[in-house]
Amino acid sequence: MKQNTQAVVEIRNLAKAYHRGGQVVPVLTDITLDIAAGDYVALMGPSGSGKSTLLNLIAGIDKPDAGSLRVGGVDIVTLDEADLAAWRARNVGFIFQFYNLMPVLTAFENVELPLLLTDLSAREREEHVTAALAMVGLSDRIEHYPSELSGGQQQRVAIARAIITDPTILVADEPTGDLDRASAEDVLNLIDRLNRELGKTIIMVTHDPHAAAKARSIRQLDKGELAK
């Protein structure tokens, strides 16, 4: 699938600082970045460079101190907590390093979780979940709990959960950081497929150059600034 040149993420002069013991520690300084719809961007940089903070801001789970941030045409900086939560439910798919599945829910129920915030009927939810789990190759594991799955399988359940609502963007924070080489390769291939076959816009934070090489573009962050 071809990349759309229209920017789905528009970041202008974004800044973020943390306050520690009365001291202001700048994390991101004057970030300006556009990410086109259908793009697959890897954010790289040393620890403390601000790449996870930038990802959190784009995903709407943290607030910037300055600048503007539009995702899918919505200025998410101006949204209040409730609107932001509703926006995230519709527009952001999360893939976490440690999968963050609910241990008391089966693979099926974990994937179904975001759909509870939609108006879909139980039958429609079932159809969507079955399709998503089939897409990640886990049709035979739907009744398994996370503890009964390998790390790679858990991450694939998390990916199915991330795409189940057909979000505007997928954000992945070190998605292979907790996986062995073979499982990491499977997960990276799956993410690559989501981008190439389904046209998903993916923003991935990684330390791993091999993982970053799968992305269409790599943006380097250093000391809170984007490398030119």
């Binding site: 789970i61 943290d62 995230r88 439910a89 976490f96 129920e109 915030l117």
Partner: protein
Amino acid sequence: MYYLKMIFRNALRHRLRSGLTVLGIVVAIVAFGLLRTVVDAWYAGAEAASKSRLVSRNSISLVFSLPLAYSNKIRQIDGVKAVSYANWFGGVYVTEKNFFPQFAVHAPTYFDLYPEFVVPPAQLRDFQRDRKGAIVGRRLANTYGFKIGDSVSLRGTIFPGNWEFVIRGIYDGAEKKTDVSQFFFQWDYLNETMRKVAPRRVNSVGVYVIGLSGADRAAEVAATVDATFKNSLAETLTETEQAFQLGFVSMTEAIVVAIRIVSYLVIFIIMAVMANTMAMTVRERMTEYATLKALGFGGGHLAALIFGEAAVISGLGAMLGIFLTYPLAEKFGKATGTLFPAFRVHDETVYLQLACAALIAVIAALVPCWRAARVRIVDGLRNIG
């Protein structure tokens, strides 16, 4: 359904911890129920008292008696339907620990004034014909194995000597709250014996029981009775039967208050234990709550999950506790013999137990809910458990 499944599975996630918390709630609910039942039993006499009966006693103290001659004068007062009288006997059956109330009563009239004491007519007639006859309550009969025709010996303390009685009747209670642990015998037997052994105590009445033509006339009749005997050698103090019974309870008010305080203290302690359980639970699951928030779930959803889990644990404890309260109260009642007139778990006690369980759940979940709802997603996600 989905959320209920999640709540139940979360509640059973740490089975040992949840199990111990449920056990604690069971113990607290049972203890609360039993202590409340003890308090209720304390007031059972007053609760069972009729509003259309007055009790008249010597105004100085119950220790002093009233002359038998008052009986006719009271009967003539407007508003009085019937009069009977009784003396507290205070005898000992075998040993002091076998306590039960014993009254010498005016056999021809006493049971007419107490329709709640249900005596088969034939047994009542046998009792009235036999000077040494006695009527006992069903609970008392069951406790000591008294049967009709049995001879029972009481050692007198207020009225010295060994007193022999023959059980002529067993009464049942018309209502659950009726005291069926009393022992009644003929006042004439007491009076005739006193005539022989202590002539100065003859024709003395402990209390008059006055039946009213209408409960609304209680105050007026009581005032008239007391006015009738004003400035006599034995002035009367007349009050409703309930006030008379409450007078006894008030003597032990401090114990009742202490029991009440302990019952609420038990609930407070388990509330703290439960709050600790919920706080630990939420702290451990902060990453999960942050994930749910990241996925778009609001504070209300998290609160519902946490409150739900607290309600499941507390509800389970309450149900088991209430279920166990009944047999334990029965055992407790049997163990205390005839100390309490009636020892039964009131419906109000069960409602209070349920209310306590709900309160435990709400209070225990309050702070954890607030913390989960307030946690910043990025902080929660960093909190890898």
